[in-house]
Amino acid sequence: MQGNWALAKKRTRLEQRARIAQTIRSFFVARDFLEVETPHRVPGNAPEAHIDAVQSEGWFLHTSPELCMKRLLAAGYPRLFQLCRCWRAAERGTRHLPEFAMLEWYVTGCDYHILMEQCEHLLDSLRPEGLLTYQGQKIDLQTPWERLTVADAFDRYGSRSLQQALAEDRFDEIISFEIEPRLGSHKPTFLIEYPSELAALARRHPQRPHVAERFELYIAGLELANAFSELTDPVEQRQRFIDEEASRRNAGKPPYPSPENFLRELETMPEAAGIALGLDRLVMLLTDSATIDEVVAFTPELL
């Protein structure tokens, strides 16, 4: 009997992956972040129209540790990170797994600009030489990286303006097929200032309330991370949850209980910013792997 060759041939990638996770932990510990673990099985997730949870005996597997992480911020923890597995039903593609590894970190007393700098520093600790090649694209990691507003990205790369795309309900298509492949192609790009209706948990820009303080990080066309200045107004947060939950129910999705503990404790949450980064995609980028399958030992199909 020979060993399973499909598993054996992944050894190099798995060794690289383990080193990346180790570097990430050292990076945050050195900056006085507390590593925490929060439950994977929860009564409900933050309702979002397009993210579906896996059900688990009447509860759900978490789609992100976000709500628990913010309750810890509200209880007075200033800097937190978590490296955990998350589940999103029916997401499977060359860059998606229904069970995947997420890195989230949160900082109080600042807005999302600090997270952009931390992304730059994190990549610097993972790739000190300041250069990487992904699928033939040479990427210069020298800071500062590009900051591009969503509206400018539509003007520069899209077949129509942001306003037109929203009016025609084609935002997701234009972003996915026209804009994303061209983002971060020489230098990493922070796509910033999302329309506020596309950011259920983000704070509105203080001067321009039609945009939210949300960014996504792209390198070599790979979407790596999503970040916010956190919304800390419990009244506005409750209303946004009601709206998102209504659109979930209209689509026939199983209802989530309203996260009352979270909403109550949000009143004591200080100004904060938080980010979710897909670890599998980061490993793809750093190991020049074309598909997410190459950077995990097991895909669902191999089980």
Binding site: Q2, G3, W5, A6, A8, K9, K10, R11, T12, E48, A49, H50, I51, A90, E91, R92, G93, T94, R95, H96, F171, D172, E173, I175, S176, F177, E180, L198, A199, A200, E216, E223, N226, A251
Partner: protein, 187 residues
């Protein structure tokens, strides 16, 4: 009816009354956005290829095609000839209908042929096939690291990645669904 979650490489759909098969598939989803299902479809009658993107919530009519158990006989200038083992009727599939699967056909192999009316338009092979390696780099002594690989060509002309210990003359098992090496066959 099928929904978007049924879409994958190999799914067969009826579009405008003709059967189509998904030959390339990717799921994509911009951050916080809706799922998009990017498909390359092949019209199973005309062979025409085209791209189409579906969004979650759409539904599809499955292509209800009859599958018949047949045996592979031989290849001639008209294509690949199969015979129904119940009534001895023969049907011929062309190169296009077989695609890369032609590399996994072995004489007398029992397969399922997809029928659209009286016409064979597709094939389902057994999941695994054994083929002999006809060309491979020699094994470098001392290279025992698990997971090292190299290219090899098998008797049908198909080239794939194999572990370094596989040599010319070795009989190997290939997964016909992925085209990948599975194991060495003991003889």
């Amino acid at each position: 009816m099928l929904t978007c979650s049924d879409l994958r490489k190999g799914t067969k759909l009826m579009i405008d009354g003709e059967p189509h098969v998904i030959v390339q598939f990717d799921f994509t989803k911009p951050g916080k956005g809706q799922a998009l299902y990017k498909c390359k479809l092949r019209n199973m009658i005309t062979g025409a290829l085209f791209d189409r993107t579906y969004r979650s919530g759409e539904s599809f009519e499955p292509a209800a095609l009859e599958e018949r158990d047949m045996q592979y006989l031989y290849q001639d200038e008209t294509g690949y000839v199969f015979m129904d083992q119940k009534n001895y009727e023969q049907t011929t599939l062309n190169d296009e209908a077989l695609g890369d699967q032609k590399y996994f056909l072995v004489d007398n192999m029992e397969v399922k042929i997809l029928m659209f009316g009286e016409r064979g338009i597709g094939i389902t092979l057994p999941n695994f096939v054994n083929l002999r390696v006809t060309m491979a780099e020699p094994w470098v002594k001392g290279d025992t690291a698990a997971g090292n690989n190299k290219p090899a060509t098998v008797e049908t002309g198909y080239t794939l990645q194999v572990p370094s210990f596989v040599e010319e003359g070795t009989l190997i098992q290939i997964d016909t669904r992925t085209g990948e090496y599975v194991t060495r066959v003991k003889e």
